[in-house]
């Protein structure tokens, strides 16, 4: 029998129904068979139809649904679904509990339909991109998997409000927008550094955590920088935030991420967008022929510098935008550098302060060799005025990792640092709720996974600075050894012997010696054992410009009129363990509120 003899209409018609997954009525199909041979084949086709239907039915019988029995937890893999916190085109986002890590997480889970079509693989792509990025301002991914017919990724549960919610509810001042911009530039620089484009920077995708930290989330539109999408296939994102060249079909780039960030800054201070249209073509037309809304028209009181910065970021021509996230960050930092309150002198000729130095530091020497090795003796006292208010430690500001002068910026290492207060023999880690008193002693505990050069600087609100570490003639080898807790100072504590205004403690760590900074640090006075601490000096503007020039921040020429100090560059709190590259800088700010 020839194959084609069997391919008569009734058989082929039934086979087509099976192939399409359509319902089949066995009785009516049997009646259509013209002869016994065809009838036998047709009966087998009906058996195939039953097998095929059973295959399709497994989805329903074995369940891809997350719903469990009433009052029983719903599971996806080892995650317990707690509640739905968002929905999207490809699925839902849940608050879930990771039963292995014992933490609550955000679970982004595809729908079964998206998994069936293969579209859900984008969730895995997103997870892979996120896994490349390690940064305080970028949401951290824990894992990704394909289970129960769905694709999912689980990550940090970032609790707070989106910038979109905040923009609508309260709006942003220029200063607040700048702070947001600085943090997002850090995030974006970290993202770009590992060869990833975010692709959808917008107010909805940035969350201000309850502690005031900004976190970039949702890499669903991201892709590797080196990917070469087909022409016109890279128009992904939110139209009001999309750069004009992307709307016209050119591939996305770091410049298009910069554009989106510029739009975000525009949006924060105006609750509006530079360009708005009803369709993609209308957007293109508006960019080509229309005039973008001017920031100045919407918020006349904005500073010239901020307006110029935002308009540069959202330039139609990508070449006219900031060349990198770091460049944009540098420009933002410049905007918030405070004007000088008095002429600044170079460090080596700085006049000694004539007013009270708010916070005095004294090294406590270990004299225990002859007294059992455990006794600590005061060698000086807090030099304070009598009505000094108590101190309240608050964690504030600092910076992301930036490459050090001698480092390529590509080596990663883990670092953990914390200040401890010693009072009456008890140690307590300094937190935002800690309070300091005269006679308190402090030390820093630091641990790194590579040998690191560490510096600790104290600076007051007026710019007076001390070098707390390294101490002159200190016995601890430099760099400090890796993979063990190291206390600084090695054999002493710092002792609070005066109380004053707000104080900032900056901790620097670097894989390589910071040759350029060494010279600066050497000029700072340091407390010595058995002596009252020397008077502090102000940091000159050149110091700050040196910092900017090292590690990829926006280079600037030294300017005498820059009043910025160390602390103005850094806004990341000193807390917890993290992974970093090159130079790491964190700050602890202690406020001295009046009683």
């Amino acid at each position: 029998m020839n194959d084609d003899d069997d391919l008569t209409d009734p058989l082929l018609s039934l086979a087509q129904k099976i192939a399409e997954g359509s319902a089949v009525n066995p009785e009516s199909e049997k009646e259509a068979a013209p002869d016994d041979t065809s009838r036998a084949t047709l009966e087998s086709l009906l058996e195939i139809a039953a097998i095929s239907a059973a295959h399709r039915d497994t989805e329903h019988r074995f369940g891809t649904a997350l719903t469990g029995a009433p009052n029983e937890p719903r599971y996806w893999g080892h995650l317990i679904i707690l509640e739905t916190i968002g929905s999207g085109e490809f699925g839902d986002v849940y608050r879930a509990h990771d039963t292995r890590l014992q933490v609550d997480v955000a679970l982004k889970l595809s729908s079964v339909a998206a998994a069936r079509s293969g579209e859900a693989s984008r969730v895995l792509d997103e997870a892979r991109l996120l896994a490349k990025v390690r940064h305080d301002n970028v949401v951290r991914v824990y894992g990704a998997d394909q289970k129960q017919g769905r694709v999912g990724l689980w990550m940090d549960l970032v609790q707070g409000q989106t910038l979109e919610e905040l923009t609508k509810s309260q709006g942003f001042s220029e200063r607040e927008a700048i702070n947001v911009g600085i943090e997002l530039c850090r995030a974006l620089a970290a993202v770009h550094r590992v060869g990833v484009l975010h692709g959808d920077i917008k107010a909805h995708n940035v969350i201000r955590q309850d502690g005031g930290h900004y976190v970039l989330v949702d890499f669903g539109a991201g892709r590797p920088l080196e990917a070469t999408p087909e022409a016109g296939r890279d128009v992904i994102g939110t139209p009001v935030y999309l750069a004009p060249e992307v709307l016209e079909g050119q591939p996305r780039s770091t410049a298009s991420d910069i554009y989106s960030l510029g739009v975000l800054l525009f949006h924060l201070v105006t609750n509006d967008y530079p360009v708005y249209a009803a369709s993609r073509l209308a957007f293109i037309e508006a960019h080509r022929t229309g005039t973008p809304k001017r920031l100045r028209d919407l918020r006349p009181n904005l500073s010239d510098g901020f307006v110029a910065l935002v308009e540069k970021a959202v330039s139609t021509n990508p070449a006219e935008r900031f060349g990198s996230a770091g460049a944009l960050q540098g420009a933002l930092v410049k905007l918030v550098s405070p004007p000088p309150t008095a002429p600044m002198a170079p460090i080596d000729v700085a006049p000694l302060p004539t007013r009270r130095v708010p916070l005095g530091w004294t090294a406590w020497a270990l004299i225990g060799a002859g007294v059992g090795g455990a006794a600590w003796a005061a060698t000086s006292t807090w030099r304070a005025n009598g009505n000094a208010p108590p101190l309240v430690a608050t964690v504030a500001a600092t910076t992301p990792p930036i490459a050090s002068a001698g480092d390529s910026g590509v080596r990663s290492y883990d670092i953990e640092a914390a200040f401890y207060r010693i009072r009456s023999g008890d140690e307590e880690q300094l937190t935002s709720t800690s309070r300091l008193r005269v006679e308190d002693e402090l030390r820093l505990s630091i641990q790194t996974t590579v040998p690191a050069y560490v510096y600790v600087v104290n600076e007051d609100e007026k710019g007076n600075a001390f070098l707390l570490y390294p101490l002159p003639n200190g016995s601890l080898a430099r760099p400090v050894p890796a993979n063990q807790p190291v206390r600084l100072p090695a054999e002493d504590n710092w002792r609070v012997d005066s109380v004053g205004d707000k104080e900032h403690f900056l901790v620097f760590a670097s894989i390589d010696p910071l040759t350029a900074f060494d010279e600066i640090f050497k000029k700072l006075p340091a407390p010595e054992r058995g002596q009252r601490k020397p008077p502090a000096v102000k940091l000159p503007s050149e110091t700050i410009d040196t910092f900017r020039g090292v590690g990829g921040l926006a280079p600037t020429q030294p300017r005498r009129d820059i009043g910025a100090r160390f602390r103005d560059l850094f806004t990341t709190p000193l807390e917890g363990r993290e992974t970093t590259q090159g130079m790491w800088v964190r700050q602890l700010t202690i406020a001295n509120p009046p009683d």
Binding site: D3, I18, L45, E59, F62, R116, G118, Q146, Q148, G149
Partner: protein
């Protein structure tokens, strides 16, 4: 395997194209008594990796991709079932009569599956792939067209329909033996 291993990209690509459907197929071949003993998604992942490694080791294999996937998955499911309950598939149980991991549907007996599997082996590879792609896995038509090297979805539909008729004919012959 490391992240830079090309095999990782290959596995990811196969997972994107077939992962969901292979997992459903595996669920269908997992008896109720074995459902808590292994995770179908893990079997699929192991299978994808195994197939990619086989291909790396012997790139000139003359077996269509989907057939290799199905065969390897089939063997892996059987192995898991054996480990889950030794002897269950060899004697003394309902499943012992069925040499293949059963597709659990009360209306379908093991004899039907035996004839189906035997008939499937008698088809030429292209027809076999067509039946598996659409009849078993329910892959989307564009994917089926791509697998069968057809220029259009319509052409793929016709190929699958013809393959199903040929399969039915083989099953009919097997019934008469």
């Amino acid at each position: 395997m490391s992240g830079s291993d090309p095999a990782v990209g290959h596995v990811n690509e196969l997972s994107r194209r077939f992962g969901f459907h292979l997992e459903q197929w595996t669920r269908g071949r997992t008896p109720d008594w074995a459902r808590d003993t292994f995770d179908p998604s893990d079997v699929v992942k192991d299978t994808l990796l195994e197939v990619v490694r086989e291909e790396d080791a012997e790139p000139s294999r003359d077996e269509a991709l989907l057939l290799r996937l199905r065969r390897t998955l089939y063997e892996n499911v059987r192995a898991r079932l054996r480990r889950a309950r030794p002897g269950r598939l060899t004697a003394g149980s309902d499943d012992a009569d069925c040499p293949e991991p059963p597709l659990h549907d009360a209306r379908l007996g093991p004899e039907l599956f035996r004839r189906y599997e035997v008939a499937l082996t008698r088809l030429d590879p292209a027809d076999r792939e067509a039946v598996i792609a659409r009849g078993e896995l329910g892959l989307p038509w564009p994917e089926v067209a791509d697998l069968l090297d057809k220029s259009s979805v319509a052409a793929a539909r016709l190929s699958v329909s013809r393959a199903l008729v040929r399969l039915a004919r083989e099953m009919s012959h097997e019934r008469r033996r």
